[in-house]
C-alpha cells in the first residue's frame, strides 16, 4: 500500500469550499465509476476521496474535495504544480450494468454529485436509447457544482432537474427538497443515489414507494476509513466492510443497516 505521488494540473472552484483538481499520476490506470482513492499530504494524513472524473484516462484523474477538516482543507488548498500522495482505486462502485434494459434515475445531493459524475457520463452515452433522469439538489444556488457539465448532459438527452434548499431573491429555479423531484417508471427503473445519509434514506424510500425494487436502488455510504484496503476495521457498518464490500450498496442490503441507530 505504498502510495504514489500525484501532481495537480489544474483546479476549478465548484462552490465556496469545494474544488475539483485534475491530477497527473503515473500509477493511475482508470477505475470503475464510484470507486475512490486515498489522497494524502505528508504530516497531515490520508483521506478517502471519490473519483469524480478520469475513470478511463490512465495517468490523469479528477477529484472533487470539500474542505471540512485538516486533511481535506490541505488538499482543497493545493495549487497547480503541487504534489500529493495517492493510492487506489479501492472499493466497489456503481453497478452500471444493472441498468441494462431499464430506465435510469440518478439522485445527487450536494457533493454527492462528485462520485456520480462518472455514472452520469456513462449513461449520457446511452441516454437516447432510454430515459435517464438526473435530479440534483444543493443547499443554495452557490453550492451547485459542476455547472459547466449541465449543458453537456442536457445535450446528451438527460432529463435534468435542479432544486435548492434556500435561494436569494431573483433565483429563477426551484426551491425545495430534492426528494420531491424524484420520479421513476414506467417499466423497470434502476436508481443511483448519493448525498447526505438522511437524504439517501428518504430518496430510497421514495423510490421504493414509486415501485423501484430495493435491489435496484444503489447508494454510496461513508464511514471513517484509514486504510481503504479492508485491513484497518474502521469502515465497518455491521456485517459490511465499506471499503471492500462498498462504498456502493443496494437498498435491500443497506436498509436494515441504516435503520439501526449508531451502527
Amino acid at each position: 500500500m505504498l502510495p504514489g505521488v500525484g501532481r495537480v494540473l489544474s483546479c476549478r472552484t465548484e462552490a465556496p469550499d469545494v474544488v475539483t483538481h485534475r491530477i497527473a499520476w503515473d500509477g493511475w490506470e482508470g477505475c470503475a465509476p464510484g470507486q475512490f482513492n486515498m489522497l494524502g499530504l505528508p504530516g497531515l494524513g490520508e483521506v478517502p476521496i471519490s473519483v469524480s472524473g478520469g475513470t478511463r484516462t490512465p495517468g490523469e484523474v479528477l477529484h472533487t474535495i470539500r474542505a471540512v477538516g485538516p486533511v481535506s482543507r490541505g488538499l482543497a488548498a493545493l495549487k497547480p504544480g503541487a504534489a500529493l500522495t495517492m493510492r487506489g482505486p479501492y472499493g466497489r462502485g456503481w453497478p452500471v450494468e444493472a441498468a441494462d434494459g431499464a430506465q435510469v434515475t440518478i439522485v445527487a445531493g450536494g457533493l454527492g454529485l462528485a462520485p456520480l459524475r462518472p455514472v452520469i457520463r456513462h449513461f449520457a452515452e446511452t441516454a437516447r436509447a432510454r430515459r435517464v433522469r438526473l435530479v440534483i439538489g444543493a443547499r443554495s444556488p452557490a453550492d451547485l457544482g459542476f455547472l459547466q457539465d449541465y449543458d453537456d448532459w442536457r445535450g446528451a438527452g438527460i432529463d435534468l432537474a435542479l432544486t435548492v434548499d434556500h435561494a436569494p431573491p431573483g433565483w429563477p429555479g426551484r426551491v425545495g427538497v430534492v426528494t420531491d423531484l424524484i420520479s421513476a417508471g414506467p417499466g423497470r427503473t434502476v436508481a443511483y443515489v448519493c448525498g447526505p445519509e438522511i437524504m439517501m434514506r428518504v430518496s430510497a424510500m421514495r423510490l421504493q414507494a414509486l415501485g423501484v425494487d430495493a435491489g435496484d436502488i444503489f447508494l454510496s455510504l461513508e464511514r471513517n476509513m484509514k486504510c481503504g484496503a479492508g485491513l484497518c476495521g474502521h469502515c465497518q457498518l455491521g456485517p459490511v466492510l465499506l471499503c471492500r464490500d462498498g462504498p456502493v450498496l443496494d437498498w435491500a442490503r443497506a436498509r436494515p443497516l441504516m435503520m439501526v441507530e449508531d451502527l
Binding site: G233, H234, P239, V260, E261
Partner: protein
C-alpha cells in the same frame, strides 16, 4: 535409536524428557531465530523474546477470573500457566510500525518504503486458542484483495511450537469455541506436557517439514500408545474443567437479532470504555494511521498503530462520531466478535481464550453477556 529425522513425518509422534524444552529453545536461538516464549515478569506470564532458555517461565500457575489475574509459584511444571495477557498479534501485527516515510522538497514529495521486516520468529508455547487466533488473523490480514505485506513477511518466517493445555484457567472457554484445549493443525510442532517432577516428558507431534527438521536437535524417542493416551486424557480433563462456554450454534444469527436488545444499555453502565479487551484480544486487528513529522515539516512518517472500537474517534466522520454512546461501542465490539466477523471473514472472531474476561477491570464477561443477549426479555 531410529533415525527420527527420516521417520519424523507429519502426523508422527515422539517423546522427549522435560529438559528438552531448553534444548529446543537453545537450538532455535542458535539458528538465529527470535525466540518468543512465556516469561514470568511483573506478576504475570508474558510472551517475550528470550536470549537464554533459562528465562522461560517454569513452576508458575495462574488464577484467572473476571477482572482478576494472579501468578503463583507452584511446582516445576513448564506449561501449567495457561495464558497471560500478551496476544501473539503483538509480534505479527505490532502495536506501532512505520509504513513509509515522505520527504517534501521544492520539487514535490518523495515516498520512501520502509524495508519489509526480516523477522524469523519461533513462537514457543502457543496455546491452541492462540493458534486458532493466529489463523483468524492470517485470514484477515492476508486473505483479502490487499494482503498486508508486512504481516505476511513476519508470518511467513515464523515457526510455531504449540503447547496443548492440560490445565484450564477459570476464564477459558476454548472447548466450546472448538479451538482447544488440543491443537489439531497449524503448528510446526505441538507439545503436550506429560507427568510431573522427575517424570516430566513431552509428547511431540509433528505438523510440518520444518517441525520435523527440529527433531534432530532434541533427542527424541518414538511415542508409545500410553504417551498418546495420557496426552488425550489430559486434554479431555482440561476441557471438562472449563466452567464457561458459548453455544456457537445459531450464535451469529442470535447476536444479529439482538441489535436493539435492552441488555446493551445494562452493559454500558458497567463498561469503562478502557479498550483493555481489544488490546489483549488475540484477534482484534483494528489499526489507525498517524502522521509523525519532524520539526521542519519536510520529513514525515506514516505510522500504523493499534486502535480500538472503544475509542470515540474510531468512528469519527466530519460532524462527529457515529458511535457516540458506550452502548453503541460495546455492541460494535461484541457483535463483531460473535456475529459480523462471520459475515466479513467466514468464521467467528473469538477463540475462547478468555483474556478479555480476566483483563477487564470491571470483570465484564463475554460469555455471560452473550447469554444475556440471547435471552428474550420477560
Amino acid at each position: 535409536m531410529p533415525d527420527v529425522r527420516q521417520s519424523g513425518a507429519m502426523g508422527e509422534a515422539f517423546v522427549m524428557d522435560g529438559g528438552g524444552i531448553e534444548r529446543l529453545a537453545a537450538h532455535l536461538l542458535a539458528e538465529g531465530r527470535s525466540v518468543v516464549a512465556p516469561v514470568a515478569r511483573d506478576g504475570a506470564v508474558v510472551y517475550d523474546a528470550i536470549e537464554d532458555p533459562a528465562e522461560i517461565a517454569r513452576g508458575v500457575r495462574i488464577d484467572s477470573r473476571p477482572g482478576h489475574y494472579r501468578m503463583e509459584r507452584d511446582g516445576t511444571a513448564w506449561f501449567d500457566h495457561v495464558i497471560g495477557p500478551t496476544p501473539w498479534k503483538r509480534f505479527l501485527h505490532p502495536p506501532r510500525e512505520t509504513l513509509y516515510s515522505m520527504t517534501r522538497s521544492d520539487d514535490g514529495i518523495e515516498v520512501e518504503a520502509t524495508p519489509l521486516p526480516q523477522a524469523s520468529f519461533a513462537f514457543l508455547g502457543v496455546r491452541p486458542c492462540d493458534l486458532a487466533a493466529i489463523g483468524v488473523l492470517d485470514r484477515v490480514m492476508t486473505g483479502g484483495a490487499h494482503p498486508d505485506p508486512r504481516y505476511a513477511a513476519r508470518r511467513n518466517g515464523t515457526l510455531i511450537i504449540a503447547v496443548n493445555c492440560r490445565v484450564s484457567a477459570e476464564t477459558c472457554f476454548c472447548a466450546s469455541m472448538g479451538s482447544g484445549p488440543r491443537a489439531d493443525a497449524g503448528y510446526d510442532l505441538a507439545l503436550s506436557e506429560l507427568g510431573t517432577g522427575a517424570q516430566t516428558r513431552f509428547l511431540i507431534e509433528v505438523g510440518s517439514a520444518a517441525g520435523s527438521a527440529l527433531l534432530e536437535a532434541l533427542d527424541v524417542a518414538p511415542a508409545t500408545e500410553a504417551d498418546l493416551a495420557e496426552a488425550r486424557w489430559n486434554a479431555a480433563a482440561a476441557a471438562d474443567a472449563q466452567t464457561r462456554a458459548i453455544e456457537t450454534e445459531g450464535l451469529a444469527r442470535d447476536i444479529r437479532a439482538a441489535a436493539e436488545h435492552p441488555h446493551w444499555d445494562e452493559v454500558a453502565t458497567r463498561c469503562l470504555n478502557c479498550t483493555n479487551c481489544t488490546m489483549v484480544c488475540p484477534t482484534c486487528f483494528c489499526s489507525t494511521t498517524v502522521e509523525v513529522s519532524d520539526l521542519t515539516g519536510a520529513h514525515a512518517e506514516r505510522q500504523q498503530r493499534w486502535d480500538s472500537c472503544f475509542n470515540v474517534g474510531f468512528s469519527h466522520l466530519h460532524g462527529g462520531a457515529v458511535r457516540q454512546s458506550g452502548r453503541a461501542r460495546y455492541r460494535q465490539w461484541l457483535t463483531h466478535k460473535l456475529s459480523t466477523w462471520e459475515d466479513q471473514f467466514g468464521e467467528l472472531g473469538c477463540t475462547g481464550c478468555g483474556r478479555c474476561i480476566a483483563w477487564c477491570p470491571v470483570g465484564i464477561d463475554i460469555t455471560e453477556e452473550a447469554a444475556s443477549l440471547r435471552r428474550t426479555e420477560p
